[in-house]
């Protein structure tokens, strides 16, 4: 399988503003990334991690300081037009649309910007409005739309040029659960058509549900890339054991075991034991079984736990 997106030693710096000691801020520090054609890659990272910088470079609105980036074999620095023709960008949130116009008028502009005109443009706009479920509201003003409807229009806009590579920046932000389910179905359709998707998100459940692989990024450095399941398996040390009907003295015994980082009882009475080594998990299971506990299970860490473990829980702090 060839790579639709490839970066080699991709570096982007910005001059530090006055008062921050001069020098430079490293937004991307030598990123090597390969996204196979037809796959969905999730890009997870906290605010200021470098996700947006990477997306901007791939969409040609920002030049790299050094290194290379290519989309479908076209270099973003030297073959800008070819990259622009093969990529679609979808933003999240309320911005990025002309609220006083209809979705049809919005899409007609973006289609024209991708060299679609006349009947071909009208046909394409109709198809996309149908596909994202907005054909019934095609004549209404966009500023009366819900956030979820705006997101669907964003998606239609990103697809107007029928791009082979699609960058989705927080695409389900503000969508209701039904719309999110439909969106995930649409992602499946897009990949079945052979498109490559790069999805930046903070929603771990979404990344687990739709991504073939996930890349964790922080401070401009890629920390890990793997399938959501393998990424979680890599951190099997984060495994935890959940059990019902555990007596207080048994809970105390579990807490005393080496390799148990935390053991506590939840509101419903269930006991959750966090272990730091596979051996500790075995010991916990043995102790529970010997105490006559039969309702128990081991749980692999979710992507969210992996994310918090690798990136670190820094609360609201933004990278410098």
């Amino acid at each position: 399988m060839t790579d639709a997106v490839e970066t080699r030693s991709l570096r982007r710096t910005f001059p530090a503003r006055a008062g921050r000691g001069g020098g430079e801020i490293v937004a991307l520090g030598g990123v090597d990334l390969s996204i196979p054609s037809g796959s969905v890659r999730g890009l997870l990272g906290p605010n200021g991690a470098g996700k947006t910088t990477l997306c901007k470079i791939l969409s040609t609105v920002l030049l790299p300081s050094s290194g290379t980036a290519s989309v479908l074999g076209h270099d973003v620095r030297h073959e800008t037009l070819a990259v622009k023709r093969s990529i679609g960008v979808v933003f999240g949130g309320d911005r990025g649309l002309y609220g006083r116009l209809t979705p049809r008028q919005n899409l007609q502009l973006w289609g024209a910007l991708y060299d679609l005109h006349g009947r071909a443009l009208s046909r394409r706009v109709d198809e996309l409005l149908e596909r994202v479920g907005l054909s019934g509201r095609a004549r209404d003003r966009v500023d009366g739309f819900s956030r979820g409807m705006k997101q669907r229009l964003h998606l239609a806009r990103g697809l107007i040029s029928d791009p082979r590579v699609l960058i989705l920046d927080e695409p389900t932000s503000g969508m209701d659960p039904v719309a999110v389910r439909d969106f995930r179905g649409l992602i499946g359709e897009l990949t079945a058509e052979g498109r490559t998707l790069l999805l930046t998100t903070h929603d771990m459940a979404e990344a687990e549900a739709v991504c073939d692989e996930v890349t964790l990024i922080d401070n401009g450095v890629l920390l890990a890339t793997d399938t959501p399941a393998r990424l979680a398996a890599r951190l099997s040390t984060l495994e935890r054991v959940e059990a019902d009907g555990v007596a207080d003295d048994v809970l105390a015994g579990l807490s005393a075991l080496s390799g148990v980082s935390k053991a506590h009882r939840e509101t419903g009475g269930r006991v959750v034991v966090h272990t730091t080594t596979p051996a500790a998990t075995s010991e916990v299971l043995a102790l529970l079984v010997s105490a006559g506990v039969t309702a128990l299970r081991t749980v692999r860490p979710s992507l969210e736990e992996v994310y918090l473990h690798v990136i670190g829980d820094r609360g609201m702090l933004v990278s410098p």
Partner: protein
């Protein structure tokens, strides 16, 4: 050309849904009232053509500059500027088409000014050469859009370019012979004035309202077209160069 047409159509639709964009349709008649009142007070009703044309040209020029600037800053705040630049379309053509749409719609202000001269003041300004007037208005609208597109390039680079924009209004009203004919300007200033397309526009528009035959109509129209095209070329070049620069500095979306 199809991109120009579609961007023009889009901006026309957006403008009709955003009437504040064409505020000149309100200010031009007010200027006409002021100028007509002055000419009447001075017993110079022969200057009615000036009183009708000056507000139209002033309004169109200030609107072209304002639109050029607002277009960039509004796209920035709307979050569409980067997405637009990320498309394969020529950004200078899109900018030019959109400014042209606004200035074209705003030529309606000529009708308003004419009506203001007629109704409260009872002065009927006769259009003696309607075709000349029409061609001149159309070419002037295009030339304004072309020249103003250079202004929009500055807005990509400098979010605070509004101050500069304001300083491009009254000097151009004078150099363009809008308020007083170019022949009234100091002799040393006249060659400079002839480099401003507005001076050709204002002269020719006044000729279109005068009963005398229009002399050198085609060369004068050509002068407007050539100077407008030159402004357009400078604007296009500046936008292209500045876009290249902000791709490097990463300041395209910075407000």
């Amino acid at each position: 050309m199809r991109l120009f047409r579609d961007a023009f159509r889009f901006q026309a639709a957006l403008t009709l849904r955003s009437p504040d964009t064409v505020h000149v349709l309100v200010t031009a008649p007010l200027y006409t009232v002021v100028f007509m009142a002055i000419s009447r007070h001075a017993h110079r009703t022969d200057l009615a053509a000036y009183a009708v044309l000056a507000p139209v040209l002033m309004s169109l020029w200030s609107l072209a500059l304002l639109t050029a600037g607002d277009l960039i800053s509004r796209e920035r705040s709307r979050g569409t500027l980067e997405a637009m630049v990320a498309t394969p379309a020529s950004f200078p053509v899109v900018v030019l088409a959109r400014i042209t749409a606004v200035t074209t719609i705003s030529t309606v202000s000529f009708v308003e000014s004419w009506l203001v001269a007629w109704w409260p003041f009872g002065v009927v300004v006769r259009v003696e050469h309607p075709l000349t007037l029409l061609w001149c208005l159309v070419l002037s609208a295009l030339a304004m859009a072309g020249t103003a597109s250079a202004m929009s390039a500055l807005y990509v680079l400098l979010p605070t370019a509004r101050t500069l924009q304001n300083s491009f209004t009254y000097p151009f009203y004078l150099l363009g012979g809008i308020l007083v004919p170019v022949s009234y300007l100091p002799e040393w200033l006249r060659p400079l004035s002839r480099l401003v397309f507005l001076s050709w526009s204002s002269d020719l528009l006044r000729s279109a309202l005068s009963p005398a035959p229009v002399v050198d109509e085609l060369p004068r129209l050509a002068a407007i077209a050539v100077l407008g095209a030159a402004g357009c070329a400078v604007g296009g070049l500046m936008i292209t160069r500045i876009l290249r620069r902000v791709r490097s500095t990463g300041t395209l979306a910075r407000t």
